[in-house]
């Protein structure tokens, strides 16, 4: 158990008054950053990075990584309360979290979200502690075809879920793909659909679309329905945390699935956002209450939150061991390592034991501190819903606008956010689903470049997608997910029952 003694040493590094203080500051800042849409963890860490030059590298990374944990926690807050995802990975949390808040169960939804974030992170940290070298080796097996297979799997586990008209789902998805293709094409280096304007060079940012479609769209709907929040009668009861905790153990399977998906996506690195979508999709498919997903089902909060936090945490592993960031925030932290004079890479674990194990120990501590902080604030967050709509709505719109502006420091994005808000409103009125659009926008770009990189490598042979065991089995799993409704019918016909539930789990 060499890892164990290393970890204990790490705790002795992390557990100084000074480091605990930095941890606390980091978490609080992180929650704030997470709450403000647009100002993501990556921006927050980047802004604070230069301030850390005078600190020791260990204290610096503890503070910055705590900002990251805080942002992961905080992203859920506005998703649940106002249907505005504070961070990209909390989009899937809105699907059930916001309906819960509308039904007066905001406290419950927040507790579930925070707790499942914590569980996801904890399991991911344990994995990092004991399996780091193995996991790093596994992640090296991922080339472009494998990445494409993962993205395909995300798609397949999510599509076909909506109850809406299939044609409308396809229309929404195609619109998402079209928006995703605007800007520079990384594979050929040419511009697409920018119509000669400089403003469109950067393409359509996923966050802007999400803030508009979900947040502004929701406010427009609320205005039409009578200028009041439906969650006004939310019980503000400090014991809501305990009451929710009592019912959480029932959903251990959903949480475990979410965590595994998250760990896997964080390492490969697929990222927290696709992980949350995939986890939500798979949970919906395999839950007994799957039919009720989208109407305020607590499992629909647990699934994406465990996955997002597990992915966010395990994304730090490839950063430390390989020097490739698993998420945008990890990318900024990576830059920080270099500036502090540390070289990320396979030797970091050997040469900088204090630093690495101090960081890992701070992941345990940071998440515990974070959980305590956010849970104690649940009743206050839920109480925001009691503020009259006429006061809070303008504030939300201003915060959204600031958030949209900060993504790229561009005024056009604020206009786009409003346009997306109207689109979101129309979509809801005309009963078009928003999720496929968002998913296509976030994944379309990545899936396209992985696919075309694969095609370049194989010189146009599609067989590259089943050329080895790994890519073949992920693609196989994706097909299984796509045709799952048909498969279940067949299974039922063959009276095999539901003994194959474990198929849902992706390759670990």
């Amino acid at each position: 158990m060499e890892e164990f003694s290393n970890l204990m040493q790490g705790f002795s590094v992390a557990l100084t008054y000074q480091n605990l203080l930095f941890m606390l500051v980091g978490i609080l800042l992180g929650v704030l950053i997470g709450v403000l849409p647009g100002l993501g963890g990556a921006n927050g860490v980047a802004i604070l990075l230069p301030l850390t030059f005078t600190m020791s590298p260990t204290s610096a990374i503890i503070m910055l990584s705590c900002i990251y944990w805080g942002a992961l926690f905080g992203g859920a807050i506005t998703s649940i309360l106002f249907n505005i995802p504070g961070e990209p990975w909390s989009v899937a949390t809105t699907f059930d979290g916001h309906p819960m808040a509308k039904a007066g169960r905001a406290g419950e939804a927040l507790t579930a979200a925070f707790t499942s974030s914590f569980v996801g992170a904890l399991i991911a940290v344990i994995m990092i502690t004991f399996l780091a070298p193995l996991v790093a080796k596994f992640s090296l097996k991922f080339g472009p075809p494998e990445f494409f297979a993962v993205q395909l799997l995300t798609f397949c586990s999510f599509v076909g879920l909506g109850k809406g008209h299939p044609a409308k789902t396809i229309a929404a998805m195609m619109l998402g793909f079209a928006l995703a293709s605007v800007g520079l094409d990384t594979v050929t280096g040419t511009l697409r659909m920018t119509f000669g304007t400089g403003e469109l060079l950067r393409g359509f940012n996923f966050l802007i679309a999400v803030i508009g479609l979900f947040g502004i769209g929701e406010i427009l709907l609320t205005m039409e329905e009578g200028l009041a929040f439906k969650g006004v009668h939310a019980r503000i009861n400090p014991s809501v945390v305990w009451q929710t905790w009592k019912q959480l153990p029932k959903y251990w399977m959903t949480a475990l699935r979410g965590t595994l998906i998250g760990c896997w996506m964080g390492i490969t690195p697929g990222g927290a956002t696709p992980a949350s979508f995939m986890s939500y999709g798979i949970a919906k498919r395999f839950s007994k209450n799957g039919e009720k997903f989208g109407t305020g089902e607590i499992e629909g909060v647990i699934a994406p939150e465990t996955a997002a936090h597990a992915a966010g945490t395990s994304a730090l592993l490839p950063m430390l061991t390989l020097g490739i960031p698993g998420s945008p925030t990890a990318a900024v932290l990576l830059g920080g390592l270099l500036i502090w004079g540390l070289q990320p890479g396979p030797l970091l674990f050997v040469e900088q034991k204090d630093f690495v194990w101090g960081l890992i120990a701070s992941m345990y501590l940071g998440n515990i501190v974070g959980l305590i902080i956010v849970l104690t604030t649940v009743p206050w967050w839920a109480a925001i819903l009691r503020v009259p709509f006429s006061i809070i709505a303008p504030i939300i719109i201003v915060i959204c606008a600031i958030g949209a502006y900060t993504v790229n420091n561009a005024m056009l994005d604020v206009v786009l956010m409003l346009v997306f808000g109207i689109v979101g409103y129309l979509f809801k009125k005309l009963d078009y689903p928003l999720a496929p659009l968002v998913l296509a926008l976030v994944l379309g770009d990545m899936a396209e470049s992985s696919f075309r990189q694969s095609m370049l490598m194989s010189r146009g042979e599609v067989s590259i997608f089943w050329s080895n065991g790994l890519v073949g089995s992920i693609c196989g799993l994706a097909m299984l997910m796509l045709f799952w409704p048909v498969v279940t019918k067949l299974l039922a016909r063959l009276r095999r029952g539901n003994n194959d539930l474990d198929d849902a789990r992706p390759v670990e």
Binding site: L184, I339, G345
Partner: protein, 337 residues
């Protein structure tokens, strides 16, 4: 200016006094920023240019080199075109500077966006980034000669080269190697240099032309092998990176007979129409930055070529580099139609 409104009688007198008045403070009080300086990075967070600019930001605030804060802003859209157009549109604003990489030339040439470096005011060259030919440590090829001979002896599209972006520096070098060997590499573009290095470690491609800082960690861990550096002289750093090798032990590609040298600019520009005073302020600022231990350490870690230039010398260098890129990109068929 005020003299226009004064009657002719007093004009000469007033003009003389203003001239005197202007002269005295100009020599004592040079221009300096009166509000926060926006430091634009035409690339994403976490990349080489981003790291360098955030290091500068940290050094500047730690050593109190300017009285105003410096804010780093990423504008990476359209291979950095977004950042360049932004600075172009900020003509006459001395509170904005931009750090450049080769996309200063490649982006407008490949995409046809209405931008040329002459729209900006050159400030200073901070450093030049080297390019190294890397293979996986398990590869049978021990030298550049070996490897390129194998490519020559193979067929078109047999060997895969991963690189950052499309129609940018990595692909330009790859095309030069195509020419040298007479065989085509399959060029696979990725988003960042870190991804590229990992693809090579994972054995998904045969070689890369990563910058030193992007691949050094894997080299030290014994996963990658450097074959040659695309420069006319070896990298000067003599400190051992692995057990047996230092940067200076990597032969140049010229030594292997490949007449390709390519260095990437890490330089600073301001919006057009900047006054000499303003340019001088930034040149002095970056001179001070270069003297700090943090900067020196960073240079050595990334095996940068520490050339520094400013003024006409720098502008001439940029002009020459633009011509070189035009030629290279035209030959490769990368120019926008």
């Amino acid at each position: 200016m005020q003299t226009n409104h004064v009657s002719t009688l007093f004009r000469s007198l007033v003009a003389a006094t203003t001239a005197l008045g202007m002269l005295a403070p100009a020599s004592v009080l040079a221009w300096e920023p009166t509000k926060p300086v926006e430091f634009v990075v035409p690339a994403g967070t976490g990349g080489g240019a981003d790291q360098m600019s955030r290091l500068i930001q940290g050094v500047v605030s730690k050593h109190n080199l300017i009285k105003q804060p410096m804010v780093v802003v990423n504008k990476s859209g359209g291979a950095g075109g977004e950042g360049f157009l932004y600075i172009k549109d900020s003509k006459g604003d001395p509170h904005k500077i931009i750090i450049t990489l080769s996309n200063l030339f490649t982006t407008p040439l490949a995409t046809g966006i209405p931008f040329n470096w002459k729209d900006l005011t050159p400030v200073a060259m901070l450093a030049l980034d080297e390019f190294v030919l890397w293979v996986n440590a398990d590869s049978p090829h021990k030298t550049a000669k070996d490897y390129l001979a194998a490519v020559k002896a193979g067929t078109d599209n047999q060997f895969k080269m991963a690189g950052t972006g499309s129609k940018q520096e990595d692909q330009i070098i790859t095309v030069a190697l195509d020419k040298f060997t007479g065989k085509k590499f399959i060029y696979v573009p990725f988003k960042g240099g870190g991804d590229v290095a990992v693809q090579l470690v994972g054995g998904h491609v045969d070689s890369t032309v990563n910058n030193p800082i992007e691949a050094v960690a894997h080299w030290r861990a014994g996963k990658l092998r450097p074959l040659c550096v695309f420069d006319d002289k070896r990298i000067p750093y003599k400190e051992k990176i692995t057990e047996t090798m230092s940067w200076s032990d990597i032969p140049t590609c010229m030594e292997a007979g490949v007449k390709v040298d390519y260095l990437m600019l890490r330089g600073i520009f301001m919006p057009g129409g900047a006054s000499q005073d303003q340019v001088k302020f930034y040149v002095d600022l970056f001179k001070k930055v270069r003297e700090t231990p943090e900067w020196k350490d960073f240079m050595e870690k990334g095996a940068f070529n520490q050339s520094f230039m400013a003024g006409k010398e720098y502008a001439d260098w940029v002009q020459k580099a633009e011509d070189t890129h035009k030629g290279l990109m035209k030959d490769a068929g990368f120019l926008a139609q």
